[in-house]
């Protein structure tokens, strides 16, 4: 009995395991091998590439840029996404609600290249935003908004916002309205209800949002390239450049560091998630 219950699911999983998961796992193993100079022409295993990369100040400045970008994008995106999710759930009119959902989520259907190009147009020196600022009564600008981190952050917040709003909406929908009513009956004001009831209960959704946004922001490639104009150097950009320079071992090290940052951030946020759950249970 237990044999048959185990073989059936394994048979069902076998096709995807063989065609997709096996190459995926194998590719990561080979990546690790290349990083210790174990490639076809390598002499490894040795840690020279790792040592050289990690002892170079330039590498650390690129890592710092990647982390700084991802952290600020995550923070800004969450600060915008949370009230957006609250506001969109409150729309009573079905037509307005549908319009808001379409405007918010339809950018997901469009290529990141298209969206980054749109921001390039908006933020250019003689683009829409600067012409608007110049025409304003204060005659501001022009400001340099592209080919620096400002433009990259703005465009990434735009691209990642839908990914953050979705899990927060999911978490807010799971809170029974009766909790808020009970808090109101017990004399809590509107601010107290949001801060002491709604927000803590929606925290798991916020953490999922942070996980998704940080992971996508730290590994973004197109947006930093298009809006950074080669002047905003991030890890993903280095990986791409080093494959052209046939520095595959170095590219492997950089790809693995990128992976380590993504996994590390995920583990930290998951731990935070569990500790908030534990606090609530205790």
């Amino acid at each position: 009995m237990s044999a048959s219950t185990n073989t059936k699911p394994l048979l069902l999983l076998a096709p995807s395991a063989l065609v997709v998961m096996a190459p995926f796992v194998a590719s990561l193993v080979i990546l690790a091998a290349y990083s210790v100079d174990y490639g076809p022409n390598g002499v490894g295993p040795d840690l020279t590439i790792w040592r050289n990369f990690l002892s170079d100040g330039y590498s650390w400045s690129v890592i710092a840029t990647s982390l700084r970008l991802a952290a600020s994008v995550t923070l800004i995106t969450l600060l915008v996404a949370y009230p957006t999710a609250c506001a969109i759930l409150r729309i009573r009119n079905p037509l307005l609600s549908a319009i808001a959902y379409v405007i918010l989520f339809s950018p997901l259907l469009m290529s990141v290249v298209v969206r980054s190009y749109g921001w390039l147009l908006l933020l250019a020196d003689r683009g829409f935003v600067n012409s608007l600022l110049a025409a304003s009564p204060f005659g501001l600008g022009p400001y340099r908004l592209i080919y620096n981190e400002t433009g990259v952050v703005i465009a990434l917040v735009h691209i990642l916002l839908p990914f953050a709003v979705l899990p927060i909406i999911g978490a807010l929908l799971q809170i029974p309205p009766i909790y808020r009513e009970a808090a109101a009956d017990l004399g809590a004001g509107p601010a107290a209800i949001v801060w002491k009831v709604t927000f803590p209960l929606s925290l798991p959704g916020v953490i999922v949002a942070a996980e998704i946004v940080f992971a996508l922001a730290v590994s973004a490639f197109v947006t930093p390239s298009v809006l950074g104009g080669g002047r905003v150097l991030v890890l993903s950009r280095l990986v791409y450049e080093n494959i052209g320079n046939v520095q595959w071992g170095l590219a492997a090290v950089q790809a693995l560091i990128l992976l380590a940052i993504a996994v590390g951030a995920l583990l930290i946020l998951e731990r935070f998630n569990r500790s908030t759950f534990a606090k609530r249970a205790g």
Binding site: T5, S111, L121, L122, P177, S219
Partner: protein, 276 residues
């Protein structure tokens, strides 16, 4: 209803904030469409004049034509592959409790955690090291896209299967249907909305993919977003805006088809897919 403790100022602020966010979300898309008619080759705002010549230029470009064909081929093949592989995998995860299920789930979800650039470079190294000839081939690109999409497709399909009552399938079995027959004739028709959503998302992801694809491609198999990215690296004239505007039109067409085909279930499935 406002009795549940809400100040009027708070509500007004929330509405104004949402309006700002919606303007922010729409702005780059609107500007791309407007700029596609801008006569200025340097995208100067406000437009120096109106023209449709960028559309003619975009449609006549051999790179973009070839990219379009390659993107459709890659999108259709990888979507088909990932649905065929993902359906049995999702069934296994949704209907069976078995030893190692959590390990399988972890590997299955792996590509969501690994940055796409790392997946792209890792597959590039694998394709080169295995001397398989997959580097720079359509097969290699389809495989790469399948790696990226499988986690999402199995999650959506498993959530979909979770909503389907297993009793119906058991009834079909009791009435003499084979396991495969019961699945094909009872379960599969009920998976319609899940398959449509998973399929649409797989196709769109494949159609938009740059960060993994750029490591696997050679000029002959370049997909459209790759060609657009490489074009943007050198020129920024409104040709790319015209092409983008056309793609935006297609996206909205797909969105309309998707919503019409699945109705109200689509958002719930997406939410379920993300939450689990």
């Amino acid at each position: 209803m406002t009795a549940a403790g809400e100040s009027r100022i708070g509500v007004a602020l929330l509405r104004a904030g949402l309006l700002c966010v919606l303007v922010f979300m729409a702005a780059p898309i609107v500007i791309v469409v407007v700029n596609s008619f801008n006569a200025s080759p340097f995208n100067i705002w406000p437009p120096t004049g109106l023209t449709t010549s960028w559309y003619a230029k975009a449609l006549a470009s051999p790179q973009f034509q070839r990219g379009m064909v390659n993107s459709v081929i890659a999108g259709v093949l990888s979507t088909a592959l990932v649905l065929v592989l993902g359906t049995p995998a999702a069934y296994a995860l949704a209907r069976f409790h078995f030893r190692g299920a959590s390990a399988v789930r972890a590997i299955l979800m792996g590509p969501l955690v690994v940055p796409r650039v790392a997946i792209g470079f890792a597959l590039f190294v694998l394709f080169i090291a295995s001397r398989s000839g997959l580097y720079g081939s359509m097969t290699g690109i389809v495989l790469g896209h399948a790696v990226l999409m499988l986690p999402f497709v199995t999650t959506v399909l498993a959530a979909n299967l979770g909503e389907i009552d297993p009793a119906l399938e058991e009834a079909a079995r009791d009435l003499g249907a084979s396991p495969v027959g019961a699945f094909l004739r009872v379960v599969l028709p009920q998976m319609r909305s899940g398959l449509i959503i998973a399929g649409l998302f797989a196709f769109i992801t494949s159609f938009d993919e740059v960060e993994t694809t750029i490591f696997l491609t050679k000029p002959a198999v370049n997909t459209l977003p790759i060609e657009m990215y490489l074009y943007l690296d050198q020129y920024q004239d409104p040709t790319i805006a015209a092409l983008s505007a056309l793609l935006i039109g297609v996206s909205f067409l797909l969105l309309g088809v998707g919503l019409a085909a699945t109705g109200r279930g689509s958002l719930r499935l997406l939410l379920g897919g993300r939450a689990s």
